[in-house]
Amino acid sequence: MSRSGVARTIDHDEFDPIGTLALVVLYFVVLTVMWLFTYFVEFLGHGPTVVGLLPLG
């Protein structure tokens, strides 16, 4: 761009890093799935678990 000497000015919201967004979304999905797996499958799935003196469930 600088070679041609023509710079294109875009608006703040015109900047559209869709690839970055996709990566961040993927990262969040991975985090969510890993959290659910760690807590509900690996932790709760391997009972008995230490409970309080007044367990409700």
Binding site: H12, D13, F15, P17, T20, L21, V24, V25, F28, L31, T32, W35, Y39, F40, F43, L44, H46, G47, P48, T49, V50, V51, G52, L53, L54, P55, L56, G57
Partner: protein
């Protein structure tokens, strides 16, 4: 300040994640009752364990309907009691301490995992819904035989669980013609009344007696057999109730010269529930639940 739409998006996403983490942990704590391992205010120093009412006798103790307490002492390189036996469908509180160095108290495959620290008492409550057999291992290096330090935890079906102790009082020898009195003392360590059957075999004679033992008490079962029916010689006896069994041998002397050998028959002995005072000429044996 102008924030880009995408930036708003992942800021919001981060907040949702954090709130999600907090919600799951809160649900586990409030909804499922999941708790941290606590420390009993009253510690016990290793040299006081033998005189401590909680730990001098490591044991499983019933404290309420479906509620049990287990006092565990870890030491190089064993756990006491071993095996730990509790019924299914129960709430069990473990109190764990160490007699020497730092040990671990882990039930592999479950979330039961605590340190056993000398001087301190770890307290953890667990619900056992299903019968099963678990191992117990030490997961803190505690010495050269650390890798052999293991125990076991047996969750028995509710109807099979008992805390019966059997003690049998039987003579070692009787003169020919005398009566053999055998007394079995059955004690019940549970809070509830326990019903069971005592099986007594003397020589080839077998008798069965149902007993009902109140919670935290004991009952005696006496069996009397005429030694003439057994004949001279050595006769093995066995008494069993629940998972307990005691056995021994009675020698019937041959002073009176009985030429006639009477075949042993079942059903001629008398069975009565009596209190039988201790007699020093009798051999007494007893075993306890671990």
């Amino acid at each position: 300040m102008r924030i880009h739409t995408y930036e708003k998006l992942w800021l919001a996403g981060s907040f949702v994640l954090i709130v999600g983490f907090i919600v799951t942990v809160t649900y586990g704590s409030v909804g499922l009752g999941i708790d941290m391992i606590g420390e009993e205010a009253d510690g016990v120093s290793p040299d006081e364990i033998s005189s401590d009412e909680r730990f001098s006798e490591p044991r499983v103790e019933q404290v309420g309907e479906n509620e049990y307490e287990v006092y565990v002492v870890a030491m190089t390189f064993i756990f006491q009691p071993d095996p730990i036996e509790v019924p299914a469908n129960s709430e069990v509180t473990f109190y764990v301490t160490s007699r020497d160095v730092i040990h671990g108290f882990e039930v592999p495959g479950t979330n039961i995992n605590s340190m056993a620290i000398p001087g301190q008492v770890a307290e953890l409550t667990v619900e056992f819904d299903e019968p099963g057999t678990y191992g117990v291992i030490c997961n803190e290096y505690c010495g050269p035989q650390h890798h052999t330090m293991e125990g076991s935890l047996v969750v028995t079906p509710e109807w099979e669980f008992s805390q019966t102790e059997l003690e049998v009082d039987a003579p070692e020898s009787v003169a020919q013609g005398d009566e053999i009195d055998l007394t079995a003392t059955v004690s019940n360590g549970l809070l509830e009344t326990h019903e069971s059957t005592v099986n007594v075999t003397i020589g080839s004679q077998t008798t069965e007696q149902s007993i009902t033992v109140d919670g935290e008490s004991s009952e005696n079962v006496s069996v009397t057999v005429d030694s003439d029916e057994l004949g001279p010689g050595e006769h093995d006896w066995t008494v069993s109730v629940d998972d307990q069994e005691e056995s021994g041998t009675i020698t019937v002397g041959n002073e009176t010269d009985t030429t006639e050998s009477v075949p042993a028959s079942v059903g001629t002995e008398t069975v009565s529930v009596t209190m039988n005072p201790a007699d020093p000429t009798r051999a007494s044996r007893g075993v306890g639940y671990p």
